[in-house]
Amino acid sequence: MQRSIPVAATALGLALVLSACGGSTTPEPTTEPTATETSAAPEGEASNSLTIWVDETRINDFDDVIATFEKERSVKVEVVQKASGDIRTEFVQQVPTGEGPDVIIGAHDWMGEFVTNGVVAPVELGDKAASFSTTSVQAFAYNGTNYGVPYAVESIALVRNNAIAADTPATFDELIAQGQQAETKYPVLLQVSAEGDAYHMYPLQISFGAPVFTQAADGSYTNELAMGGENGARFADYLKKLGADKVLDSNIGGDQAKEAFLAGESPYIVTGPWYATAFTDADMDISVLEIPSAGGEPAQPFVGVQGAYISSQSKNPLLANEFVVNYLSTEAAADTIYNSGGRIPALQASADKIKDEVTRSFSEVAAKGVPMPSIPEMGAVWEFWGQTQVSIINGTSADAPAAWEAMVKNIEGKL
């Protein structure tokens, strides 16, 4: 039962060899650098079809818009639904074999892995970049090059149960005090879970002035880690305090937090639109607000951006660009995607048209957030980050600033 590795390796091996049988990993004298052979597809047969990979969490967004695109451009689009857990790995593995899709729909933080492996093609947004929200365009930029077109943004925010609390104070400490006075089971719900949740903790962390990586002038991230130092230590101490006061608890994961909020056990929850629909469906009276600052600076949440990438080995680069760059950037397409999926459009004109109060508020909070880093270095950060936070919250690491500093060193060692 050596499940994972040999199975993964052999499945992969089979896929690789049966499809392309590269075999030639020895550095061959490369005669043509842009080795996109024309022999495979005989001329005249280059079919007007496009293959798009999308996972189950995003497929609803795209059903309608793809149907319209097919009709308008008389192009055949084959949509392949992949499991969200595998789609990204499979893409990285299959593009080199020529078996990958032309376009893949996914989150912007997949970009680092894709670029490291050379499986996505740069995308030229041209003047269209201006019509998207700034954060969403920054999210797909790396080293001054764009690798994808955004279509939706999302971020977490503070959700208030208006039946328990009517107004919200300006700082996180005051919010906790208010929640404690409300005498509900929890003053505020902020999910941690056993593996840690650096994503949900980030607004608090950045309010102490300890962003994960430093941002360059154009908003893109550098690979310089910025969460250490004095500000990081102050945040670590704050985490420890919240853990000791039982405000944060590693036993509370996403599900537990959602259930507790639904049961009216807390006036506040820090969460995203994915749970907010459950609250509105249950007819709760909620408000979506900015997260109050804990350390003095604004508590900006990470913004996750959904978008479309083009495979670097696409046999239909022109059609792929037509769909991704020219079509998804139109207002009509963005409206359709919003209507079928309900995610906040990245296209400003469409986002401005949202009527739903909750979605609108989420969109406003997201506009003030920072893009989640998508640089390749981010892959080495998440796990350590979450685990260290858990050990501080649990009190396993008695000296919080030291544990934090050790984590920063470990991550730097990886980079």
């Binding site: 005669t31 650098p33 080795a35 093609a121 660009n321 080495a380 690491s397």
Partner: protein, 513 residues
Amino acid sequence: MDNGRARNFKAGFIAKLFLMALLNAFGLYGLFSAWAVSSWGVFTGLAVGLIAANWAYFSRRAIPAKYLYPGLIFLFVYQLFSMAYTGYVAFTNYGDGHNSTKSDAISAILSYNEVRLDGSPAFPVAVLEDGDKNLAFGIVRDGQPQVGTSDNPLASVDATVENDRITAVPGYTVLNFNQVVQRQQEVTELRVPLSDDAKDGSLRTQDASSAFVYSPILEYDASADTMTNKETGVVYTPNDRGNFVSDQGEKLTPGWRVLVGFENFTSMFTDKAVSGPFFQIAVWTFAFAFLSVATTFALGLALALIFNDPRVRGRKFYRAMLILPYAFPGFLSALVWKGMLNERFGFINDVLLGGASIPWLSDPWLAKFSVLAVNLWLGFPYMFLICTGTLQSIPGDVLEAAKMDGANPWRVLRSVILPLLMISTAPLLIASFAFNFNNFSLIYMLTGGGPNFAGSPLLVGSTDILISMVYSVAFESGVKQYGLASAVSILIFIAVGLISWIGFRRTRSLEEL
């Protein structure tokens, strides 16, 4: 020889002929496809398989081969091939950043380092074709319609222009969208120089409607096999690790796959970050596998002895109930147990222990205990089953004789039952040890290897066993390292094989009773 098969057209022979024709048809199709994409490995494999099939089923002397052939094919495809491939990957640096061939890497590096010139405008572009089917771009620059090809820079021409886009040029055909799509790869690869000076950059388009001026930062010199940065003059040469590297050690990504020899096999021991926790984890792996077998066997045997006694009533019902845990998929049970052992909301703490907060999964020793306890729950029905079977096969007269000789029940168990039992169960215990040595799903689903070693530069923890440690090192540490994963899984395979081999040799002595 009149009754030779070839002259005896019975239904069976016709059916065989039909099936073989089908097989050969598919085989030939596969051969042509493999030829078309230059997959020589597949081509050779298919050819050999096909020839063997025809020989096996048409030769009269190949009776055994007729039966062996399908099995052998499956053995090759599913076992030997995947083993060989794992072995091959173990000697490469295959993983994130080294994902494909060198030519793929070169084209990716070049495309990632071709930038749009600052402030260059978007030109509405027309894709043109001359009489010889050569592609050209036509744009309107500074109010002048201009046409150029990859060899001839943009030059002014007489052309009809509508809305800043060329609609007709003498000597060229303006391609419509569908025609462009037919030649889309050529179109997106076409670079039309702006002028004779390469510094001015070149025109390219990604969608055949707007073109931009690009200038490459890096240039690849095929004869010298080097990349040169045109702005700084830095030269990048390929190293033996599958990367272009400058003199300063700056790497260009992506790289490509190369053979790295035994490096993957030794890195677990030489990499300081890994070798530290490695020893601790190796000890726990042996302890976990041994204790899992010991506890499950002890409980299974005890229950089997009890329910084998005719004085126990309702034995059938109890036996059926005991098999229940065995019927659930192991990884699902592990997930359920993970929920039940949650410190605050878990069933065990919340209901059974009246709201106690015992850190079942977050304390290093308790987590180890929990893993063993859950594995006991999962594993004892199997041991119960085999012990029951063996006990029932022990002849009654042997036990009778022992009793007549005045042996007490303890003595009967120790001197008669256990030795007889061990003959048939010992090999199963060894198999069980090998299974638990690699019981990835239990560890991964229950604790994920946690609680993690504090301050460790790797994400490994007190309940990690070797296989889950490899998973963490090779897949969860930010970059995927298939080469390393393959190498270490081979090492683990060798370790398990060795232990089993020694174990089986030892058990042979049991049979000399």
